[in-house]
Homo-oligomer: 366 residues x 2
């Protein structure tokens, strides 16, 4: 019998917590009263078990619940489902952490990881610089021109905004080859190795079409939103299709009541993200310093056979924060700055300034 140990935070009184935790253990496994579980094997080897309960502030408890790995198999969607599928509908519960005493579910993990991404991007040391193509609504020509400007400014990585899917103003099939060509042209001029990561989106057939366009254009990375595409689709792509690094975007993930370090750190890494975007503290989003550090830690801490992935703290970052962010995250980080550069009076100069500031930090800490 193999189990995963899931720590839930539950709002309950001291009188109720034992029964509440037992109910949660059943909810996330057999989905019925214990009396309905007549098969001894199911009762012993599959029904969730409360392992420990401890206090966690006023009227809150932490309950560690063992869930059978056999209910998960090797499917990431089913992993999310067993962790929190039904319990997401019970507002008194959130998921804090998972431990894997009997081994991890069979998921691919990062195909490239920190070392593979560094090799692809030609950045052996120091922080990796990334910027975004925006705003949605721009023409293909405008986005390609912007990408060329960004590549010439020295960015290592350029990604689509996650709002750039397949709009009439810049259809994927026209946009991606044009942007890749602009980046290629800039690379030829500068001798750089800037990589463009288009945003995959839509149903599986749409994504397959986009992948063919990416291959044909010689794209060197992709971005995707695992919680919009479905984590199981991402796993199939990583296992069977993609031969470039994956940049994962956290869209839709903020409300899930799954701890950010577990969701964006451990789970995104397990499904194969090489780089994970998350809202840095002090930007447009509200994650605090500790949460951000925990996400970054979850991306690099030992996790079975899996390579470490790169944190991409983002969301309203500015060039002024380069020093602080390099000091905070260390050199294995992707610094993503988008809108702040585009809003500058002289965007090209702001881009160069950002890239130079990151390079200077690398020398300082190197």
């Amino acid at each position: 019998m193999k189990w995963m140990h899931v720590t839930y935070r539950i709002a309950a009184s001291a009188d109720d917590i034992d029964a509440r935790a037992e109910a949660l253990a059943r909810e996330q496994s057999v989905e019925c009263p214990a009396a309905a579980v007549r098969d001894v094997r199911v009762r012993e080897a599959v029904m969730g078990k409360v392992i420990a309960i401890g206090p966690d502030g006023p009227d809150h408890f932490r309950a560690c619940i063992a869930l059978a790995l056999e209910t998960v198999g090797d499917d990431a969607g089913q992993l999310l489902n067993m962790l929190f599928g039904n319990a997401s509908l019970q507002p008194d519960v959130s998921v804090l952490d998972v431990a894997w005493p009997d081994g991890l579910p069979d998921l691919p993990g990062p195909r490239f990881g920190v070392a593979g991404v560094r090799e692809r991007l030609g950045v052996p040391r120091g922080a990796i610089t990334c910027t975004a193509l925006k705003p949605v609504g721009s023409s293909v020509a405008a986005l390609a021109a912007l990408a060329g400007q960004q590549a010439r400014a020295g960015f290592h990585l350029i990604k689509d905004d996650h709002g750039l899917a397949d709009p009439v103003s810049a259809p994927f099939a026209e946009r991606v080859p044009a942007i890749q060509a602009a980046v290629d042209a800039a690379n030829r001029d500068t001798g750089g190795r800037c990589v463009y990561a288009p945003n995959l989106s839509g149903g599986p057939r749409a994504v397959q079409g986009q992948l063919a366009i990416c291959r044909s254009a010689g794209v060197g990375a992709v971005m995707l939103c695992p919680l919009v595409l479905g984590v199981s689709q991402v796993v199939e792509l990583v296992r069977d299709e993609l031969d470039v690094p994956v940049l994962a975007h956290p869209a839709l993930g903020g409300g899930l009541r799954i701890d950010p370090a577990l969701l964006f750190g451990t789970l995104f890494r397990l499904i194969g993200a090489d780089m994970v975007i998350f809202p840095n503290h002090g930007g447009r989003f509200s994650y605090d310093v500790a949460s951000c550090q925990q996400i970054a830690a979850a991306l690099s801490m030992p996790l079975g056979k899996h390579a470490p992935a790169l944190p991409v703290p983002a969301g309203g970052m500015t060039p002024e924060r380069v020093g602080e962010m390099c000091a905070s995250y260390g050199e294995d980080v992707v610094l993503l700055v988008g809108g702040a550069l585009l809003a500058a009076q002289d965007p090209a100069r702001a881009m160069r300034g950002f890239v130079e500031a990151v390079a200077a930090e690398g020398v300082k800490h190197g």
Copy 2:
């Protein structure tokens, strides 16, 4: 220019709400400061616009924001993304409602709807009865025997638990033909038309394999979890693959801070759900009466060209609640009871009792 009008609930002070709503309008469209939007067309036709702001309780406001339909296209994932992708990461915001003054995005809606499901199940009037195959961990033989018992008891619809994916104890490829055969045998004996809805799960390749098994076994409906599979995958299935009704499960949806009537009512209906499971009030989940009524209303209210879908209030329902639920939801409802029947001393008798109670309500109200 075509827009959708999204109503967000925002925690903010009266001094801050104007700036906060403006920032949200940009976040869910151009994702950058207004100063970075230099293209006049993008500024006028794509950048989100605050339409109205009103109070909504202490330190909370409702902001109606216009978002350009051209950023959504015909992709359901992108619709979720533009509604709430980034804003999900901002805990001061939730989504309450969407209005479509310029028309709906091009999504399939229910292929069968209330009338089509009734025809398929052979239930022209009255509440439809549904039960679940559980617990996960059971053998194929045990699940098939249970399905036969349920079909003989007179249930119109039998569904897999959403935790029953593709476990070693009952692999999809063995389970589905065996259960369908058991239901077919019972139908031959009873003259009934009970339909089995297996649970589709996993990545697109896995789902395609499961669909082939369903077709070969003559399955008459499917269940799926749109927020686990990815809504875009569901739309492709409904548009191009499925010729049976779709039962949608709300797994993972509870934490999203999207109003349940919008998410499980309008959005699940738009992507093609013919029947939508949601947590009924008074069960294991915490939705109140008003929320449940609003979900049911959203499934049947006028919505472009789309057929109405059936509400499936569920989650710890008991036979004793049949009368109340029939009175509350009217006859266009699927009454789903699972664990309570299996936990009874004599499950077969409890099943028959439930089916008879629903039939008696039909006569009473008919």
